[in-house]
Every structure is written in structure tokens, then in C-alpha cells.
């Protein structure tokens, strides 16, 4: 029997999945504490023992891992105009599985440089200007970054006319330099795959060892990618399928965490109405965003701020004072589980509003414009209203009671001008199958797809919810 081990070193838990490739199926699944502060292999070995106890002994032909341990992949993005290259840079970094700590637009100031020095990102992405367009700002910014006394790698992916100059400037500094194609070579056209490949390469070659995760490598065939990137790979395969099997089509996924919430969409999201005009940046088919202020515990206050206390009182039936008190408690004690009915109600509302807010920020919007030929709509971003599937995943799911009710409620009362999914089949990924299959897809795509379709391929709601 051909066996492969898939590992996700999360920030808190290390998840292990053993799969059989001959008759594709999950053999065993285990979860242990991540031991990033000492040595990742301690937790890994504990996990392996748990796996063996379930269905061992195993003889793995490959051990593949993704990691968001030791803080994940932290990036700073810099571009020219906030809505254009700065946004393109941020989308590219998100799509590569990074946490984008900060995005800068226009010229970096001395204060910005000091701030970046304090952030100490794993990678800084420098963009700006269309090809043949503005080169002044990116060159200024390369100079500014070259003066930051640190050795984080810099990826230059802006105006190609300025690439050489930027690389020359940075080469003379303490920063390793990498170049990639422009993230926005023409107005409103994103090209983010090349820079994502470079981010992946830098992650593999430098970040893993810089974080002291490389000793663990001896036990593995490698930490191949950041965890969100593995999730994205899994979703891409599930949506698009392989050469042999069709996927399930356009989908949206929400990863609800304690501190942050990730949203993924695999869909073109072009306008569907005849009198709708798409404006601005054409967003990528495979899109990931991270809401750094939206979560079930550390991010609870952010949900309250974004959704407003009225939304909470409506959903919970509790007075505002009670909502605020419970949320303050959650922010202080991130490990807390709801202990009474009041807290359960707030938890429900938190999950609903976190999902609604994060989806709303990820999806595109419509604006009604009255023209001499009648009302027209302008669409900014992606129209996900027709997405047939919504996958929900994340550590914070354990807090949430009835997931299906939560997601239905989140979708139901969405703003009609915000293009979130309206009537999607809800599935949930409690077994972290998405990241595992994302890892496996680079090794045995057909087996990965078969396993994914087994878990999510049915046209009915996931019973596990």
C-alpha cells in the first residue's frame, strides 16, 4: 500500500493526515500541540505516535508539510496608487499565503522606513508603475528600503523599466534581492502568478531556515508552502478538477479564526447583469484576503466595531451592555469557551457577523448610477453572488454551535449591493482535508482530487455540519 503523510504545522496545532494512494482514502488523522518554541519535531513525533496507534504501522513514501508556525509568512507590500499597484501587491502576497502586516502607497517616508524596520517582515514586496509608466516612486522606495538596517529579502515586481535600477540599488544594501514580472503591467490588469512563484521560492530557500524550522526538515520531504497556500491549492483543485475529472465549479471558502478570518474565492466573478459595467482592477480568479481585525476571540472587538452593536443586539436579543461585556471577556481570554446561554448567544452572533463582514470585504460591490439611457450598475471587484458552494473551515469552528444556521444567517441578511454568495451549499472542513489535499495535489493530483470530491463533491449539504 502506498502511503503518504501530510502535515500542517499550525500556529497552535500540528495536524497530521495519513493517506492511502492506491485506493485513495484517509487512513488516520491526528492533532497535537505545535512545538515551535523548542523543536517542531517533538510535536511531530507525538503526532506520529498517535497516528500509529490508530492505524499503524505506516511506511510513508513521502512526508509533505505546510507551515504557519513561528508566525507564518509575514510580508510588507508597497505600491504606488492605493487602488492599483498597492492593492495588486497586497493581493499577490495574500495569494501566496502571506500575512500582509502593512501595505504602503506612494513614496515611503523616513517614518515608514522606521516602521518597516520595526515590523521586520520576512519579505518586502516592492511594486509601482505600469510597464513603461511611473518609475520615480519605485526607485525612491528602493532607495528608502536599502537604507533599512536589516536583511529581509526584497522582491521587486514593479514597472519593468525601473527593475534594473531598483535591483542595483538594493544589491548594494544588506537585503537579498529577487525580481519578478510587474504585478500590474497594464492599467487594471493583474499578473500575480510570477511574483507568487518568487515568494514561494524565497519562502522555501530562506524563510524556513531563518525561522529555525529547517532541522525538522530531516524528518520530512520538505515544508513546501505556507498553510494558506496549501488551502488555496486544495480549493483550486476542488473547483477546477484535473484533466481526468471535473471539479465542483466556482466556490468560496471562509476560514474563521480566533484572531483573523481568511476568505478565499475561486471564481472569475465577472458581471452577470447586462447593464453592469466592471470598473477598476480586474481581480484574480484565485483570490485570498485576510481580515486582520475579524475573529472569534482576539478579533472579537473588531467584529463588534465593524458590524456595530445594533447588529449584535438584534441577533442575540441581549442588551448592548451584555454584548460588550462578553466580548471584552473573550478578547482577554482567547481560550474561553461559552460558559452560559448569554455567551452562547454572543458566540453565535460573533460567528455570523465575522463571516458576513469578511465575505463582504472580499466580494465586490455594486453601485447604481442613473444615466440618460436608464439605471446602470458599476461593479467593483468580484461578483460571487452566484457561487454554488461555500466551504467553512478554521479553528474557531469548535466554538460555534450550529454551523449551518450561522452561515445561513450570515448569507441571508447581506447587503444587496455587496456581491457575496446568496444561496450556496454549505460544507465544512473539520478534518483539515483542504490543506492536506493542497499539499498532496503537487504529489499525486488524481488521488488528492478523489479525496476532495469524496469529502465535498456531493450536491447536498455536508452532514458533518
Amino acid at each position: 500500500m502506498r502511503q503518504v503523510l501530510l502535515i500542517d504545522f499550525g500556529s497552535t496545532y500540528t495536524k497530521l493526515t495519513a493517506v492511502n494512494l492506491d485506493a485513495p482514502g484517509v487512513l488516520a488523522h491526528a492533532q497535537t500541540r505545535t512545538t515551535a518554541d523548542s523543536d517542531l519535531s517533538i510535536g511531530l513525533n507525538e503526532g506520529l505516535a498517535l497516528l500509529e496507534a490508530q492505524a499503524g504501522p505506516f511506511r510513508f513514501e513521502a512526508r509533505l508539510a505546510c507551515s504557519s508556525a513561528a508566525g507564518g509568512l509575514n510580508m510588507v507590500a508597497s505600491g504606488l496608487v492605493p487602488n492599483l499597484t498597492a492593492k495588486a501587491a497586497k493581493l499577490a502576497a495574500f495569494g501566496a499565503g502571506a500575512k500582509v502586516i502593512r501595505t504602503y502607497a506612494y513614496q515611503l517616508t523616513r517614518e515608514d522606513a522606521e516602521e518597516i524596520a520595526g515590523i521586520r517582515p520576512d519579505i518586502l514586496l516592492l511594486t509601482g508603475g505600469t510597464d513603461g509608466g511611473n518609475s520615480e516612486v519605485i526607485i525612491h522606495n528602493a532607495r528608502r528600503v536599502s537604507g533599512i538596517p536589516s536583511n529581509f529579502p526584497v522582491i521587486v515586481a514593479g514597472n519593468r523599466s525601473a527593475r534594473e535600477k531598483c535591483a542595483d540599488i538594493l544589491m548594494k544594501s544588506t537585503h537579498p534581492v529577487f525580481c519578478a514580472d510587474n504585478v500590474m503591467p497594464e492599467m487594471n490588469r493583474l499578473v500575480i502568478e510570477p511574483v507568487q512563484r518568487v515568494i514561494r521560492q524565497v519562502f522555501l530557500e530562506r524563510i524556513i531556515s531563518a525561522k529555525g524550522l529547517s532541522e525538522t526538515q530531516a524528518l520530512l520531504d520538505g515544508i513546501l508552502m505556507p498553510t494558506p497556500s496549501a488551502v488555496l491549492e486544495g480549493l483550486k483543485l476542488l473547483a477546477g478538477g484535473s484533466n481526468k475529472h471535473a471539479g465542483i465549479g466556482d466556490l468560496v471558502a471562509v476560514d474563521l479564526g480566533g484572531a483573523t478570518t481568511d476568505v478565499y474565492s475561486i471564481a472569475d466573478g465577472f458581471p452577470t447583469g447586462a447593464n453592469t459595467v466592471l470598473r477598476g482592477l480586474i481581480e484574480p480568479r484565485v483570490k485570498r484576503t485576510v481580515e486582520g481585525d475579524i475573529g472569534m476571540r482576539f478579533g472579537a472587538r473588531g467584529v463588534l466595531e465593524a458590524a456595530g452593536s445594533e447588529a449584535f443586539t438584534r441577533l442575540t436579543g441581549l442588551p448592548e451592555e451584555a454584548v460588550t461585556r462578553v466580548i471584552a471577556g473573550y478578547s482577554a481570554r482567547p481560550e474561553a469557551l461559552p460558559a452560559n446561554e448569554e455567551e452562547e448567544k454572543v458566540d453565535f452572533a460573533l460567528a455570523v457577523l465575522a463571516i458576513r463582514t469578511a465575505l463582504g470585504r472580499h466580494a465586490g460591490t455594486l453601485e447604481k448610477v442613473y444615466t440618460p439611457v436608464g439605471p446602470m450598475y458599476q461593479q467593483t471587484g468580484k461578483d460571487l453572488s452566484g457561487a454554488r458552494r461555500l466551504v467553512v473551515t478554521g479553528g474557531a469552528l469548535i466554538y460555534a454551535g450550529n454551523l449551518k444556521d450561522i452561515v445561513r444567517e450570515a448569507l441571508m441578511r447581506a447587503d444587496p449591493l455587496v456581491l457575496t454568495p446568496r444561496d450556496a451549499i454549505i460544507s465544512c472542513d473539520r478534518g483539515y482535508i483542504l490543506s492536506a489535499m493542497g499539499l498532496l495535489s503537487g504529489y499525486d493530483q488524481d488521488a488528492a482530487l478523489e479525496l476532495l470530491l469524496g469529502a465535498f463533491g456531493k450536491e447536498e449539504e455536508n452532514a458533518a455540519c
Binding site: M184, P372, V373
Partner: protein, 137 residues
């Protein structure tokens, strides 16, 4: 690299796409690097595109009569965004009704547009003006 870059688009809630395509083709054919934003373009979009592509001129079209409203404050916003002195053209049916063109031209010049073109202007006229103003031989 010595090709001049122009930003082209139809401003406001105007959806007249045909003239825009004709101008796009004519300007490209005349050797310009054209960034065409299409129809229903806001002032901010013109300006952002001009910044990213280091444009030499912004050419604004308006066919539906509300051009005067749509163009208010355009020059000020360009100045504010650091596009000081960028060449600004406007053309089409830019005002409501039939008004003497000299008056219309004067009003738009007051608003900071370098050249103002009335209905029925041929693309060649615009090309000629751009070449003259940008020093293209």
C-alpha cells in the same frame, strides 16, 4: 520609451462607447501609448491611471451633456495628486443644449483644460493638437 502616454476615457455616467473606441484606435495608430479606461470613468480613475502610467496627457470625452458637471474641479484634483501641469483635453457634446462654442470653450479653459473640442471634431484634429502640445515630430 519616447512614445507619449495618454489616458483616454468617457467621464461620468456616460456610456457612449463607440467614439471612445474610434479615438483609442486613432491615437494608437498615430503612435501614442494609449491607456483606455472605457466608459463611466470617474475623475479619480483618470488621475490614478495617469499616476501609475506616468501619462503625458489626459483626454476626457463626454457625449451626454453633463460634461460640465463631471469635469468640475478636475484640474485641482490633478494638482493635488502631483500631476502638476499635465495636459488636459476635453471634447464631445460637453454641455447641455446648443450653446455658442466660444463660450463653452472659455468656461472649460477656466476650469483648467488646455484644449476644448466641440461636437464633430475629427480624430486627426486631436492628434494634431497632442503632437503639437507634447512636442512630437
Amino acid at each position: 520609451m519616447d512614445r507619449k502616454t495618454i489616458i483616454l476615457g468617457v467621464i461620468g455616467a456616460d456610456v457612449h462607447a463607440v467614439g471612445n473606441q474610434i479615438l483609442n484606435y486613432a491615437f494608437m495608430d498615430a503612435g501614442f501609448r494609449v491607456v483606455n479606461l472605457g466608459v463611466m470613468v470617474s475623475q479619480e480613475e483618470f488621475i490614478e491611471a495617469a499616476i501609475e502610467s506616468a501619462a503625458d496627457a489626459i483626454v476626457v470625452s463626454s457625449l451626454y451633456g453633463h460634461g460640465e458637471l463631471d469635469c468640475q474641479g478636475f484640474r485641482d484634483k490633478c494638482d493635488e495628486a502631483g500631476l502638476k501641469g499635465i495636459l488636459l483635453y476635453v471634447g464631445g457634446n460637453i454641455v447641455v443644449g446648443k450653446q455658442p462654442f466660444a463660450q463653452v470653450e472659455e468656461r472649460f479653459r477656466q476650469m483648467g483644460f488646455d484644449r476644448v473640442f466641440g461636437p464633430g471634431t475629427s480624430p486627426e484634429e486631436g492628434i494634431h493638437a497632442l503632437k503639437e502640445d507634447l512636442g512630437v515630430t
